[in-house]
């Protein structure tokens, strides 16, 4: 049985490898000069005064894709919450308070605000410099969990009202939808970037609706990651099964 499986894997893998190598040899060469889509995307981004072309592609030219991606994230977090909820045969055990060496505790408490500010900075400058809602949101959410490293899980639970984060997750998705629908009401199409003036190139308010959509995504990602990690931490640290069940 096991040997049969390995033989099957070897045959399939060799065939796939041959096909992949053939496909690689047929691709346009690495580092080539011809990028027609790229040139057009850069041009469109510059006419709309968005300095970071990737943010322009994500939140303006292909904003509809980002809506789909947000829905995937939202649905996945919802699925995790349902899968990891406390079952009837489980109970919560109070975790023992942890002893953390003082330098580690001090480091965590000093870096926590620095990381939060960095996350906000990355979100806020998403349409100018590298960064954006996704990256900054994950950093801000990770920063909150420094409290778990510096102190213990109970300290984290005190400053993390989960209901608030769940609400803000849903609120951010709705904000994105409302901003998209506002385009329809204004007489253009869904998620069209025609609502706001484009502003001065390379300033925080440039790019029309890009900074707003970016902020909504940042809020959604940050809340989603906090909720996700909270559920996993609950499972790993607090929830125990009844003995002998």
């Amino acid at each position: 049985m096991n040997r049969l499986r390995l033989v099957l894997l070897a045959v399939g893998g060799t065939g796939l490898a041959a096909l992949l190598v053939a496909a690689c040899l047929g691709l346009p060469g690495f580092g080539g000069r011809s990028h027609p889509y790229g040139a057009r995307a850069v041009h469109a981004s510059l006419t709309r005064h968005t300095a970071n072309t990737i943010a322009s592609v994500n939140f303006d030219q292909r904003a509809y894709d980002t809506l789909g991606e947000m829905s995937i994230l939202f649905a996945a977090v919802l699925g995790c919450v349902v899968l990891l909820r406390q079952a009837r045969d489980e109970h919560r055990a109070q975790p023992q308070p942890a002893e953390v060496a003082r330098p580690v505790r001090r480091y965590a408490l000093i870096v926590l605000p620095v990381a939060l500010v960095t996350g906000l900075y990355v979100v806020a400058h998403g349409q100018l410099s590298p960064g954006g809602g996704f990256q900054g949101g994950v950093v801000a959410a990770t920063a909150l969990h420094l409290l778990y490293l510096g102190a213990d899980y109970r300290a984290l639970e005190r400053v993390r009202p989960l209901a608030v984060f769940e609400t803000s997750d849903a609120l951010a998705v709705s904000t994105y939808l409302v901003l998209g629908a506002a385009g329809v009401l204004a007489g253009t199409s869904f998620l069209a970037n025609t609502l706001l003036p484009y502003g001065t190139f390379n300033t925080l308010s440039s790019g029309g609706t890009v900074p707003l959509l970016n902020a909504a995504v940042g809020m959604e990602v940050a809340s989603a990651v906090v909720v996700l990690l909270a559920n996993f931490l609950d499972q790993a640290v607090e929830i125990e099964e009844e003995h002998g069940s």
Binding site: I54, T142, E241
Partner: protein, 91 residues
């Protein structure tokens, strides 16, 4: 010159990916995955994609290993409490 750094980053990525698959213990694999995440971020910088590099750093170097380690801890803790319960039952 810029080719040399791309080649080094690519080879390092391939080596980390191989190492991540070869580690059979999930906890040790999580360590290698976090190295793979950081190396990928450098590769993306070299390929002139800093946005993607930032995202890979946040997700690959911190979030994914953390989730895997928490799952490993849960599965191990489950095993421990079950063994203890089985011993109590035998007694």
């Amino acid at each position: 010159m810029s080719d040399a750094v791309i080649v080094v980053a690519l080879l390092l990525t391939a080596a980390s990916a191989t190492a991540a698959v070869a580690q059979r213990d999930p906890a040790r694999q999580a360590l290698v995955l976090s190295v793979l995440g950081s190396v990928l971020a450098v590769l993306f910088t070299v390929l002139q994609a800093p946005d993607v590099g930032l995202s890979q750093l946040a997700v690959g170097a911190a979030l994914t290993p953390l989730l895997i380690m928490l799952s490993v801890r849960k599965v191990r803790r489950r095993g421990r409490t079950h063994d203890a319960a089985a011993k109590d039952g035998a007694r």
